[in-house]
């Protein structure tokens, strides 16, 4: 067992556990976007930052990738951590202002303003879909391509990949696109649920830019709003 201090509380966890796992096990919430049980930690979204160490030697690390060490002092919600997290959320929100997950997280963390230009990237490059495809679906149909500001996720040569089984796992885990409704592009639609079910309550034109996760039906939600 490894003994460490989280938010002043002396705790012990099994060897090999990450700081995130330790904190969550003892009921200290740390927000995450790119972390998912069953997928390897990646440390892309930086939301899970925590402060470790003391005084001038204190530093910020991503708790999802940092292994719990003997005698480590961790602060999951110090001023510095909260400030960093809010900034990260504001930046994420600027790149994907339409993401419901990010909106909810931002609201929960009291992000009240948006000082950056909205990019509408529909992707935060968290790599969840890439890891899902490789590690859970054993397909490796999609991956990171290009680099720098051109970096994106997709299939090689932008062609339909032979490895892809249209399982939809990538969209299921995506915090930014969340089964982006593909009704207007039925040929390539993975789900096509709304098109098949043809909900009579919907005028289909405004579906163009909507998130659809079918349960509950977004269109119906909007209707009742």
């Amino acid at each position: 067992m490894i003994h460490l201090t989280i938010n002043g509380l002396a705790v012990s966890v099994e060897e090999g556990a990450t700081v995130l796992e330790a904190a969550r096990f003892y009921g200290m919430p740390i927000p995450t976007l790119c972390h998912m049980d069953g997928l390897s930690p990646y440390g892309a979204c930086r939301l899970c930052v925590v402060e470790i160490g003391e005084g001038p030697r204190a530093k910020m690390v991503t708790s999802c990738t940092y292994p719990a060490e003997e005698g480590l002092t961790v602060r999951t919600a110090s001023d510095r951590v909260i400030r960093a997290r809010k900034m990260i959320l504001e930046l994420l929100l600027a790149s994907c202002p339409q993401s419901r997950t990010i909106q909810d997280l931002a609201a929960a963390h009291d992000v009240r303003q948006q000082r950056f230009r909205q990019e509408h990237d529909d992707c935060i490059l968290c790599g969840l879909c890439v890891r899902m495809c490789e590690e859970q679906m054993m397909a490796k149909a999609i991956g990171f391509r290009h680099r720098g500001e051109k970096r994106d996720i997709g299939t090689p040569f932008d062609k339909h990949s032979e490895e892809c089984r249209l399982c939809g796992g990538c969209m299921y885990v995506c915090p930014a696109c969340q089964l982006r409704c593909t009704y207007t592009d039925t040929e390539n639609a993975v789900c096509g649920g709304c098109a098949n079910l043809a909900p009579p309550c919907v005028d289909k034109d405004p579906f163009d830019d909507m998130m659809c996760s079918m349960a509950p039906c977004v269109a119906c939600e909007i209707k009742t709003d």
Partner: protein, 176 residues
Amino acid sequence: MEAQVDRKEVLAIVAKHDTRSGGLIAMLEDVQEAYGYLPEEALRIVAQAANRSLVDVYGVATFYKAFSLQPRGKHHVCACLGTACHVRGAPMVVEELERQLEIEDGETTADGEFTLETVSCLGACALGPIVVVDGVYHSKVNGAAVKGILESVKTASEPDEEAAPMETEDVTSAAV
């Protein structure tokens, strides 16, 4: 100008390198050497033979600026736009190259003779601005020297002249 990919040739290239780790970049370099660019078919063969997923191979091929997935012209003109070259007027040199060749950065001339590319540093900053044409480094290039460089390449590549690439007097070559 899609190249015809010879499966045997690509397999021979893959066989020369370590397929387990680190060898991928060397393989792709050799494939590019053979075809002038990385044809889609060749990448698929490399992925299969090296037991890598196509996504990984494609990711590496698109990550590095040295690799091209588009067929390139006979002559490869590469201008450095790194910080040192930039402050010494590399943007003007690139502009002049674009004007002379009548193409934009990253494009190939209609006759398939020249491809213009820019890179972010060649590691020879003291010699900047640098223009590399077919592996020959031209240092301290200015707008006026561009024409000479392009002319020298054209004359050097004429069939009756087997000599080394010509260089204008204010232009020296440097190895990296």
